[in-house]
């Protein structure tokens, strides 16, 4: 919050100052300094976010939109203030276009169910890619089964880039929906999202972008991207778990039927007929995760308070440094060598299963993710059962990378 309150954002990036804002980074893990390199899984939370949640519960807690007392008014203001913050964060045209969800997965499921059920027919195609997270595959699979539409996946190259020729070929007049990841969680590939969206729209398809891994790393402008839907989670951008955003163009959201029924999403209810509420409330049934949304807004405000270009430069130089240092470790095979990458180092170590790498790194205080990263098609594509994934956040340092590489040398010692 302090950063956002500054008249001008700092133009230089001071990682040590940022680290001080994250209490958890002072934790010891197995008696060691915590080296947190599992940011693509979830990020840690700065005090600005922790305090916003704490303050909400201590001072403002009440249900929103439905009581006349002062606390309810304050809670409503905090909740709607967060929505406005999130609207600015992605440069949406209106707060009506910001639907607050339980997370990115929930947002994609909302579109698949509401838009998909109303619009998909037998003979229609839904186009995804081989580098999608399961949460941008399975909802479409489910709705295709129910509607008779066909799910098609655009292949990826050996280097981990989207096969653009295949994309052009597979995009036809049957394609109703193109659902694409902005930045891949398993490979770090940054997709040329503006041009993919433009092609899809030119072909008459509706577009959804899974931005879960993009929002913490790159400034996102949904109107510049030109997509119809953009989904992301709070917890991967330094906010709390259990909250996310579905951005949708107002005209599309307006035409879509409700996803879930309940309180707050209605204008009037009789047993004969229910009138639905206006946007975005039509899609927000039941008491939402108010504190989570308040924390989410605080996270967006906190992140927006930085010079995002400077943050990006810091993260990119760390990734580059990590790639250099990783080359020193014997028997490393990297996955994902796209020309444009962000945040993620995915690799396997010859003769050592990723799970064993993860356990040994953990004893050194180093947190990474090992496994399939909810992207089994990617693992199958490269013929590996799992990978080790180190992922970078705003607070990581060269010291973290050095510890990580040293940890990998220890793995080599144990396994010979």
């Amino acid at each position: 919050m302090t950063k956002a309150a500054d008249a001008t954002p700092a133009t230089t990036f001071d990682v040590e100052r940022v680290r001080e804002e994250f209490p958890i980074l002072r934790e010891q893990v197995h008696g060691r300094r915590l080296v947190y390199l599992d940011n693509a899984n979830t990020t840690q939370k700065p005090t600005a976010v922790l305090e916003a949640i704490d303050r909400y519960y201590r001072r403002d807690n009440a249900n929103i939109h439905r009581a006349t007392h002062l606390l309810s008014e304050r809670a409503t203001r905090a909740y709607e203030g967060a929505r406005a913050e999130l609207q600015r964060f992605i440069n949406a045209a209106s707060t009506h276009e910001i639907v607050l969800t339980r997370g990115c997965t929930d947002a994609i499921n909302l579109v698949a169910n509401s838009w998909g059920r109303a619009n998909l027919r037998p003979g229609d195609d839904v186009l995804v890619t081989w580098m999608e997270h399961h949460s941008n595959i399975v909802p479409w699979q489910l709705i295709c089964e129910q509607t008779g539409a066909t799910l098609r996946a655009v292949p990826i190259t050996d280097g981990g880039e989207l096969d653009l020729e295949a994309f052009d070929r597979m995009l036809t007049d049957r394609t109703r929906m193109v659902a694409i990841v902005h930045i891949s969680n398993a490979l770090g590939t940054v997709n040329p999202i503006e041009s993919l969206v433009a092609k899809a729209r030119a072909a008459g398809a509706v577009t959804l972008v899974d931005g879960a891994q993009a929002v913490p790393h790159v400034p996102v402008d949904v109107r510049a991207i030109g997509c119809d839907f953009y989904a992301f989670s709070s917890h991967k951008m330094y906010g709390p778990t259990g909250s996310g955003v579905l951005y949708g163009r107002e005209a599309l959201l307006d035409a879509m039927p409700p996803y879930q029924g309940g309180g707050d999403m209605i204008a009037s209810v009789t047993f004969e007929k229910t009138e639905y509420n206006v946007l975005p409330y039509k899609f927000e049934a039941g008491t939402p995760n108010i504190a989570g949304v308040v924390g989410f807004g605080a996270a967006a405000q906190w992140l927006a308070g930085f010079d995002r270009q400077a943050v990006q430069a810091h993260e990119e130089s760390l990734l580059e440094y990590a790639e250099e240092r990783l080359a020193e470790v014997a028997g490393v095979r990297r996955l994902g060598m796209a020309a444009r990458r962000s945040g993620v180092l995915s690799f396997v170590l010859d003769g050592v299963h990723p799970h064993d790498v993860g356990t040994i790194l953990d004893t050194e205080g180093i947190a990474v993710r090992t496994g399939q990263h909810c992207a089994q098609p990617v693992m199958d594509r490269y013929g590996v059962p799992a990978t080790v994934r180190a992922s970078i956040g705003i607070y990581n340092t060269r010291e973290d990378i050095d510890a990580f590489v040293q940890g990998l040398q220890k793995v080599r010692e144990v396994f010979g």
């Binding site: 050592v352 299963h353 990723p354 799970h355 064993d356 356990t359 040994i360 004893t363 090992t370 496994g371 399939q372 693992m379 059962p385 799992a386 220890k410 144990v414 396994f415 010979g416």
Partner: protein
């Protein structure tokens, strides 16, 4: 490092590098698959049951050192045993890897399997150590369903 050696004992590293009873059997009476979705470990267990005796057993698959070594040592331990004996051994093994870290270790009747005592310090690895055993139990009890640790 000493903690790590506790988990990655030489016997475990050896069975990981050179798993015993590895590869399909020519004429198994039971073939059962096991899967640990957390780390992607998959194994197929082949078993020849002769009455209530495990006449032969082998496995195939990919997995971490703990799961591979556990499968290898499990096949050595149960080969020639009756179903009841194998299941009793699984219970003792299960107690070993899930015991609280400060509890005394009961190695009775475990033989080489006692090298897995270090696993109890690593709760996330218990599933790796027990996947092959769960698969064996399912194989002797009810044939060819896929066993999942989830």
């Amino acid at each position: 490092m000493s903690d790590l050696r506790e988990l990655y004992q030489e016997v475990i590293l050896d069975h990981n590098r050179r798993p015993r009873n590895f590869g399909a059997l020519p004429a198994p009476t039971r073939t059962t698959k096991g899967h640990n979705p957390l780390c992607g470990d998959r194994l197929t267990l082949y078993l020849v049951l002769d009455g209530d005796r495990i006449a032969d057993v082998s496995f195939e698959g990919s997995g971490c050192a703990i799961s591979k070594a556990s499968a290898s040592l499990m096949t050595e331990a149960v080969k020639g045993k009756t179903v009841a004996e194998a299941e009793a051994l699984f219970e003792r093994f299960h107690d070993l890897v899930t015991a609280p870290p400060d509890a005394p270790v009961d190695r009775t009747g475990l033989g080489k399997l006692a090298v897995f005592a270090g696993v109890r310090e690593y709760p996330t690895r218990v599933k790796c150590a027990s996947l092959a055993w769960h698969t064996m139990k399912s194989a002797v009890e009810k044939s060819d369903e896929v066993v999942s640790t989830e």
